[in-house]
Symmetry: C2
Subunit: 328 residues, 2 copies
């Protein structure tokens, strides 16, 4: 590894001049700067990040904490985040918490030691703890809002409104909501949006709360069974991960989608369109959320909440309800 000192020696100038030249400082003579840059390149000089961080205090990486990388939504957020970070010449560090809220702070503080800041996706940490962390570390939230902390979120209420409007237009009058984890901020927002939309489009008992489920196939089984027991004609799932599980269970139980049951997801993960039937779902710009979060982290503006638009993708997992589900 070539060091600054070696470059300085080769160029016949001081270390300070090399440091300034390489940083592009204008106070160093243009000719000197050029020569130094060239020699540094020849020697294949790579600055030692640890040394730089030690003296500047500023790090070289940005962290991302997600509940589960295997959820395609978070994989997309990670991809978007990572592209932006790399474009800024920094590194991305990613940690997942295995859907365990308790591990969130642990992972974050571990990342924070080497990171300038971190993006926290779908945090389930309490407001108080979160505020405390945000006080110590530069943090941007994704899919969560907290006063004074910058955040990027999808328009949850509007997404639910679109989904309900679509189902109502098809003629559904009893819709089941398969909720996400109880501590999920997005789930709370989606429930609110759902309630508002339901008041507008449906009768009082138009929405049935199926309960709270862990995204994944286990949760999907429970959710689908509850939906069937409740006699709803459509299921609105908290996210695609859960909708996937629901679809699987319905297929196992011989329930035809969309003929006997309509299913709507949320997120529009890439596989959604490849399922049979292709899943009707609310498309959330996950890649953009990741990059926008990095922008917020890197910019020095006031903490702001960026709400990204979402859009229902109508595919083939939704249709008119069966006329007489009992007969025929």
């Amino acid at each position: 590894m070539t060091t600054l000192r070696e470059v300085a020696a080769a160029a016949g100038v001081s270390m300070a001049t090399v440091s300034r030249a390489l940083a592009g400082s204008t106070i160093v003579a243009a000719r000197t700067r050029e020569r130094v840059s060239q020699i540094a390149a020849e020697l294949d000089y790579q600055p030692n990040r640890a040394a730089r961080q030690l003296v500047t205090g500023r790090g070289q990486a940005i962290g991302l904490v997600v509940p589960d990388l295997q959820n395609a939504f978070y994989a997309s957020v990670a991809t978007g985040m990572q592209r932006r970070v790399r474009a800024a010449g920094l590194n991305a560090m990613i940690g997942d918490t295995d859907e365990d809220p308790a591990r969130e702070l642990e992972v974050l503080s571990q990342l924070a030691m080497v990171c300038d800041g971190a993006v926290l996706a779908s945090s389930r940490t309490s407001d108080a703890d979160l505020a405390e962390v945000a006080g110590r570390t530069r943090v941007v939230l994704v899919n969560r809002v907290l006063e004074g902390v910058p955040a990027v979120v999808g328009d949850n209420a509007d997404g639910m409104a679109q989904a309900v409007a679509h189902l109502a237009a098809l003629g559904h009058t009893r819709i089941g909501y398969a909720g996400g984890p109880a501590t999920s901020w997005s789930d709370a927002r989606r429930r609110e949006g759902l309630a508002t939309a339901a008041r507008r489009e449906l009768t009082a008992d138009g929405v049935v709360d199926l309960g709270a489920f862990r995204p994944g196939s286990a949760g999907g089984i429970a959710a689908a069974d509850r939906a069937l027991a409740n006699g709803v004609t459509a299921i609105l799932a908290f996210n695609d991960q859960l909708a996937l599980g629901i679809l699987g269970r319905l297929a196992d139980r011989g329930v035809a989608v969309p003929q006997q049951m309509s299913v709507v997801g949320f997120d529009d993960v890439p596989v959604a369109r490849l399922l049979a039937p292709p899943l009707t779902t609310v498309s959330v710009p996950a890649l953009e959320m990741g990059s926008a979060a990095v922008d917020l982290l890197l910019s020095s503006e006031e903490p702001a909440t960026r709400v990204l638009p979402v859009e229902l993708q109508v595919r083939r997992s939704t249709a008119e309800p069966a006329r007489h589900s009992g007969r025929t």
Copy 2:
């Protein structure tokens, strides 16, 4: 931030003693160690990683380079890798290359600056470049083998043998192989395994090379169309990502799976079982590959290649071929 110096002052000992005590060195008196640890805890002392790295040379993180985090297989490798890394008290840094082989070295060298070592998954870099990198940085390969570099791979040949045996037993005599990227090491191994198995189970023209495709839905469309044009009764896909695209295209073209076409994938990503029909595929222990790679990286043994067993999961995307596919 509390520093070592402050802890030393508070404890009334030298910095060196604190350093040793906190490192758990046995040469420091037990009582001293205890007192120092307690004071450090009271002061909420957190060692500065940059300073430590600067002096020891050893970093604090382990890197992972994958072609595409949105491919569920790599997301699983990342998860497995990450759990192991965190269990070792280190951080994981993940970078993806957007399936661009050229970016691989770039991402790796960026990660290498702050990492003790890196796991390189499905590298498509040339042997020469890879050997050069492995000389500079501690590297473990996943899904790639190179003399002198530790590696974790799935048993590609055996996987193909199982898949071919399954299809042959069902009565298929013309199988199309939808290959992966030309520079993919696993694709080459899978082709070899396929050829060997075909010699044993099928006639000379039993396997049709459909070509090389990029995993994803675009590649799947091309692959499915080629398969249909070639009159094969079964498609063996390089990986699930590609199989997903194939399934999607077949559905679009009204080809019933498995009645008119059988499809077999490779990897067994979590959604494979949730597709309609559930995908028959070769299960590869992705999580384990990730953690095994970290083990290899952290251990100081001789470079070894760990071959992990794979197992065909027969689901419902495969069946006997139609008797007379032309008629009826």
